[in-house]
């Protein structure tokens, strides 16, 4: 085939190779604009989005001479992070130049695989409140605890609870006769020396055994002496007490993962969305411009004065677009406005429950994905 072309194309110089790639209108090394748009943008039409797939196969464009493989250096050059908002419990940042496979892996790990401490066992000594024991225990389990899980170990089935794997809290609340009161999470008192409930009476000379066997007090550790362990919020309602009702219990918190139970999830939630891109395909002027501004509930568009009493619509705040598609609905609007999403630009939001700051949580999530890879490599070797 190639030889045939050679003969046909260059009769005078049979040695010079003719190639279709030498033609002037063949885009070398880069995709033609329409394919580039399909590859990098989701276009949201009035009925449904199109080009939603991600073309990651390295040879996807081999037939037009474009290399689609991504090398690490290319990733390093293109990857960017912009922090938009950062507080103690939540964080919003832009992650640019990353594949949804990775962004989603980070999100999944944040929700279900970053370990935290949560109350797992509740020893109820006394409960005359209307809240049943099992309901109260469940409520206690969901209270987020301000304790760095990296300082603790997992408690396996055969382990005895000790200072490295268990945190003990005490709750003793009672209500006077003729009164009512609410029990808040701030009343959970940390017991750094371990359980105080006696399991069985020991010999007269030895110490009685309790439900934990701590060898030392947790508050001598420098991490905890300055920042004592407590629930991360003070005003979480645990129960309500009526006249002469009383609760006395001990709660044991252990380390766990969100995939076992949501109480171990370190985030209220973590999510991402792709950056919206709003493009005006033609000049939208006068009444139509006003109509466009009126249609958008998120106030994405503005009107600018272009002189001679004429007005023109502009895209002022594309980031606020929620993709309601109100602006592309109806006759003729899809020709004026195009809604797109940038496929490799993620607006990532992490809401921490207060266990760890959000930026630390994200770093931990990335480390966990690294550990998974490391494990696969070591098992394959």
């Amino acid at each position: 085939m190639n030889e045939k072309e050679n003969k046909g194309g260059n009769n005078d110089e049979p040695n010079k190779k003719f190639s279709i790639w030498d033609l002037p209108d063949v885009p070398m090394g880069q995709l033609p604009p329409h394919l580039q748009l399909q590859k990098t943008r989701v276009v949201c039409k009035a009925d449904a989005p199109i080009h939603t797939d991600n073309i990651s196969y390295s040879g996807a464009y081999a037939s037009i001479g474009v290399d689609n493989s991504v090398h690490l250096d290319l990733f390093r050059d293109n990857f960017k992070v912009n922090v938009i908002r950062l507080t103690k419990e939540d964080m919003e940042f832009d992650m640019i130049g990353i594949d949804p496979a990775l962004a989603n892996a980070f999100r999944r790990i944040l929700i279900s695989e970053v370990p935290t401490m949560a109350i797992e066992k509740v020893l109820i000594a006394y409960n005359t409140s209307v809240v049943q024991d099992e309901v109260l225990a469940h409520r206690l389990g969901l209270v987020p605890l301000k304790a760095d899980p990296r300082l603790f170990e997992y408690l396996s089935a055969n382990d005895t609870p000790n200072e490295k794997n268990t945190i003990v809290f005490k709750l003793h609340a009672s209500c006077k006769r003729g009164e009512r009161r609410t029990v808040y999470s701030e009343e959970l008192k940390w017991l750094p020396k371990g359980s105080e409930l006696i399991k069985e009476a020991g010999q007269a000379d030895s110490k009685p055994t309790t439900y934990t066997s701590f060898t030392c007090s947790q508050d001598v550790l420098p991490e905890f002496s300055e920042d004592p362990i407590s629930p991360s919020e003070d005003k979480i309602i645990l129960a309500k007490l009526g006249s002469k009702q009383e609760i006395e219990l001990e709660a044991h918190a252990v380390k766990g993962l969100g995939k076992t139970h949501a109480k171990w999830s370190p985030v209220a939630t973590a999510w991402y969305r792709m950056l919206p891109e709003v493009v005006l395909l033609e000049d939208v002027e006068d009444e139509v411009a006003e109509e466009l501004v009126r249609r958008c509930p998120d106030k994405v568009f503005d009107i600018e004065d272009i002189g001679h009493g004429k007005k023109r619509a502009t895209v002022a705040r594309p980031r606020d677009c929620r993709l309601c598609r109100e602006c592309v609905r109806g006759e003729g609007w899809e020709e004026r406005v195009e809604l797109r999403r940038v496929k490799d630009h993620f607006i990532f939001t992490v809401e921490s429950t207060g266990v760890l700051p959000p930026e630390v949580l994200f770093t931990e999530a990335v480390k966990i994905l690294e550990e998974k890879c490391e494990r696969v490599i070591s098992e394959l070797s």
Binding site: S56, A101, N104, E359
Partner: protein, 119 residues
């Protein structure tokens, strides 16, 4: 983590053609499998790569890899290595971005350290 020490990975393939194989990972899910698949698809040596979870109540994923000649095992190792390096880069970039943000927004930083002092 739970089965540390146990061999969690299995390779199913033919003895005389190492370029095609299915790897079965226990205790993994879409999180790892989809990321690895993405990494491998970008590798020019890979002709086909995909994964499946045979049954939702079985914590196992199967990753199928067919290469243009290289042993699938080595290509998978390289893919994981690449993924790890990408993660490290993400971590470094994020740390830098957070530090920059703190530097540019010192007021927020102060309120943060103040509230930390209180607790």
């Amino acid at each position: 983590m739970c089965v540390a020490g146990n061999r969690r990975e299995m390779e199913h393939g033919s003895l005389n053609d190492p370029s095609k194989a299915t790897f079965s990972f226990v205790d993994e899910d879409h999180t790892l499998a989809n990321s690895v698949r993405f990494c491998l698809n970008q590798d020019p040596r890979v002709s086909v790569c995909g994964y499946s979870i045979p049954h939702p109540s079985d914590a196992r994923v199967n990753i199928r890899i067919q290469t243009t000649g290289e042993p699938a095992r080595e290509v998978l190792k390289d893919g994981c290595q690449n993924l790890m390096l990408m993660c490290q880069h993400v971590r470094g970039t994020l740390d830098k971005a957070v530090a920059d943000f703190r530097m540019n927004n010192p007021t927020k930083m102060e309120t943060k350290s103040d509230s930390e002092m209180e607790t």
